[in-house]
């Protein structure tokens, strides 16, 4: 019986040496959902993606994808799992020495024995899905940021994975590209029956397309809910995040001694 | 970069590199080492080999016909035992003599073979009977001074 949950993270803790980054995360993503993981920079969102992808192992707890515990897989098993996952890196991470076409064809050429005709058809199909079929012959250096990310998306779905992870897909994009990207993520998830995991801090765009949101702060999940629940939430951290308030649970001032002391006022000068 | 153009350049590079190696091997150096299959070994004993080294040429009438293979010290008779390889094309009579000569005035030393008159030829592993040691400069000077002293002293 296949569970409805594609990704299950239970009680996961992770840290670099003495520095804990994640202190106890519980998170699930069901098949066909778009799930967003939000939080301020450095709260461990990207670490979660790397845990799911098996690049690092959790100190405590378990990470399960399609029922299999990622940390317990051997090299062959891990590679097998990764062929069913796609990952979109923050700036695309396209291979700069290959054309757009070759980038998307990469996984097909490495992992399948398909003839070049079949590969060509598949690549053009994926590029068409992201609207960049005409850019197939360009080199990554000739693409704009938004286009590069769309090509990376086409590359991530080349083998029709069951899970796609996006690391800050909206960072640094102009309003049109933002709309395009958000639209693409939702459409691809629905038409291909994927599960999408977004790590982002772009609230407005994500709330338009996601099914469920997790808020991470200080290494734990502080809030979760559907898009509407989050928008209506009055938890101080969520409220500050969603409305972009300057001061709140995340303080404006970096910890410093008292202002008067710093300026040397009220001190006896020798 | 088109794959076929790339392959072409790499192919040219490898061909050029191998050509350079061949040039070095054939025009710059030479396969000087006489290999075991087309040479025969002969041994010569000397009381003093001077500056003779392994791989020194073995010449006869000034033509290089072989190489010194190895030089050993014979503790039985306290002499130097020189083993050399001579090209199979040049057989020498059994009474051939070997001398250690110097090319030029102060150049490298080599073995010069002077053929004898015997009808029987040297075989692989034979020892030469007649040898002439290297000229040691100090002995020469000593001889000269001694000779001069002899001349000058009153009888």
């Amino acid at each position: 019986m296949q569970s409805d949950n594609l990704v299950e993270i239970a009680g996961v803790a992770f840290g670099y040496g003495a520095r804990p980054i994640l202190k106890g995360i519980n998170l699930t993503a069901r098949r066909g959902q778009v799930v967003a993981i939000m939080g301020s920079s450095g709260c461990g969102k990207t670490t979660l993606l790397r845990l799911i992808g098996g690049q690092i192992k959790p100190g405590q707890g378990s990470v399960r994808v399609a029922g299999e515990s990622v940390a317990d897989l051997d090299q062959a098993g891990l590679y097998r799992l990764r062929r069913k996952m796609g990952m979109l890196f923050q700036f695309g991470a396209l291979f700069t020495d290959m054309s757009v076409f070759d980038n998307v064809a990469f996984q097909l050429r490495e992992h399948t024995d398909l003839p070049e005709d079949a590969i060509r058809d598949l690549v053009l199909m994926k590029l068409n899905a992201v609207g960049l079929r005409g850019a197939a012959r360009l080199m990554p250096a000739e693409l704009s940021g938004g286009m590069a990310r769309r090509v990376a998306l086409a590359r991530a779905i080349a083998l029709d994975p069951m899970l796609v992870m996006y690391d800050e897909p909206f960072a640094g994009l102009d309003p049109i590209s933002l709309g395009v990207t958000g639209n693409l993520i939702r459409r691809l998830t629905d038409t291909l029956g994927l599960t999408s995991l977004l790590v982002t801090h772009d609230v407005q765009e994500s709330l338009k397309i996601v099914d469920y949101v997790y808020f991470v702060s200080e290494g734990v999940v502080v809030a979760e809910g559907t898009a509407n629940e989050i928008r209506a939430s009055d938890l101080p951290y969520v409220h500050q995040f969603v409305h972009g308030e300057a001061d709140g649970p995340v303080p404006f001032h970096y910890p410093a001694p008292a202002y008067a002391d710093d300026l040397g006022l009220g001190q006896k000068r020798a | 970069m088109n794959k076929t153009v790339l392959d072409l350049w790499v192919g040219l590079f490898v061909v050029a590199g191998i050509a350079a190696l061949l040039f070095l091997a054939l025009k710059v150096g030479s396969m000087n080492t006489v290999n075991a299959t087309d040479s025969y070994e002969i041994v010569a004993r000397f009381e003093n080999i001077g500056g003779l080294k392994a791989r020194a040429p073995v010449k006869s009438a000034g033509v290089v016909i072989g190489r010194v293979d190895r030089i050993q010290f014979d503790t039985g008779v306290y002499e130097a035992k020189v083993t050399m390889r001579v090209d199979k094309r040049y057989p020498f009579p059994k009474d051939t003599s070997a001398a250690i000569l110097t090319s030029g005035l102060l150049g490298e030393q080599y073995i010069g073979l002077a053929a004898g008159g015997d009808s029987a030829m040297l075989k692989n592993g034979d020892t030469l009977k007649i040898t002439q040691d290297a000229v040691v400069l100090e002995n020469l000077i000593g001889q000269f001074l001694y000779g001069k002293a002899q001349e000058g002293s009153p009888q």
């Binding site: 690049q55 590679y79 990952m87 700036f91 700069t96 | 790339l6 191998i18 091997a25 150096g29």
Partner: protein, 272 residues
């Protein structure tokens, strides 16, 4: 003056701490580098099964280094011809010019200078490329696509460098001999016949040429391994990559010179 002693003690203490720290770091890094090198060797299967990858890298390391190698070889040979003639002339042995030029090049200058040039051109390029691929997460992306970056990216470059190095050294020596010939025979007027004939009798294939080739293979291994490691280990920032590139050139140049000494002592010892 107690404060000066205290200050001096502090400086010394900090210097020793830094030295100890750097040594420990250095040893740790050597261990990591050795494991990396072994991993590259073990994953070399792909580099040979898909030889096209290696050929592609041979273009970037070997072919693109040709110009500097050929031109430098020519100039070094020409200088050897000039300088050699000056010195030999005082002993009346100008005809040994061919011997001087050929032996210097084939035994030492060919492998070593070609290796140093290779380290600065191809070595730094490899480090920068791998470092940049790491900084832009391309290696991570490849890992996430279930393709081992060591097998696919690092190993082909390693074998390309190892194969290219002896070819480049041979080309350097050949050009050098040509340069020496041009200056000695054509320009200065040393007798052409004795130039080549004395050279041929003095340069032995096994002893000199083969040893030179062995040297250049060893240098190729050292330089490429160092370049790949520095790139793979570089911090993923602009300063990180530039620091790694500098370290590649310095470390591999020193390694080449040290290995040259060891190999020469080992190889030419029996020539008494």
């Amino acid at each position: 003056m107690p404060t000066i002693w205290a200050w001096g003690r502090n400086v010394l203490k900090r210097a020793l701490e830094n030295l100890g720290n750097s040594t420990v770091q250095g040893v740790w890094r050597m261990g990591f580098a050795t494991r990396f090198f072994l991993a590259v060797l073990m994953h070399s299967g792909t580099a040979f099964r898909r030889f096209g990858l290696t050929i592609r890298e041979m273009y970037f390391t070997g072919v693109l280094s040709l110009i500097i190698i050929l031109v430098s070889g020519l100039f070094v040979g020409m200088v050897l011809g000039l300088q050699g003639y000056e010195t030999l002339q005082t002993y009346g042995s100008e005809e040994a010019l061919g011997v001087l030029v050929a032996l210097s090049l084939v035994r030492e200058l060919g492998p070593v200078v070609a290796a140093l040039l290779f380290a600065s051109r191809a070595g730094s390029a490899i480090t920068a490329e791998i470092g940049l691929m790491k900084a832009t997460e391309q290696l991570s992306a490849m890992e996430m696509m279930a393709v081992d970056p060591i097998a696919r990216v690092v190993a082909p470059r390693f074998w390309a460098g190892v194969i290219s190095m002896p070819l480049l050294a041979a080309l350097f020596s050949a050009m050098g001999v040509l340069g020496g010939y041009l200056v000695g025979v054509q320009l200065i007027g040393v007798d052409e016949g004795s130039f080549w004939s004395q050279m041929q009798s003095a340069v032995d294939f096994e002893q000199d040429i083969l040893n030179g080739v062995i040297k250049s293979v060893v240098f190729g291994v050292a330089i490429t391994a160092i370049a790949l490691f520095e790139g793979y280990d570089a911090p993923p920032t602009a300063e990180g990559v530039s620091g790694a590139t500098t370290r590649t050139v310095v470390t591999s140049s020193l390694a080449v010179l040290a290995l040259d000494f060891v190999l020469t002592a080992f190889m030419f010892r029996g020539l008494n």
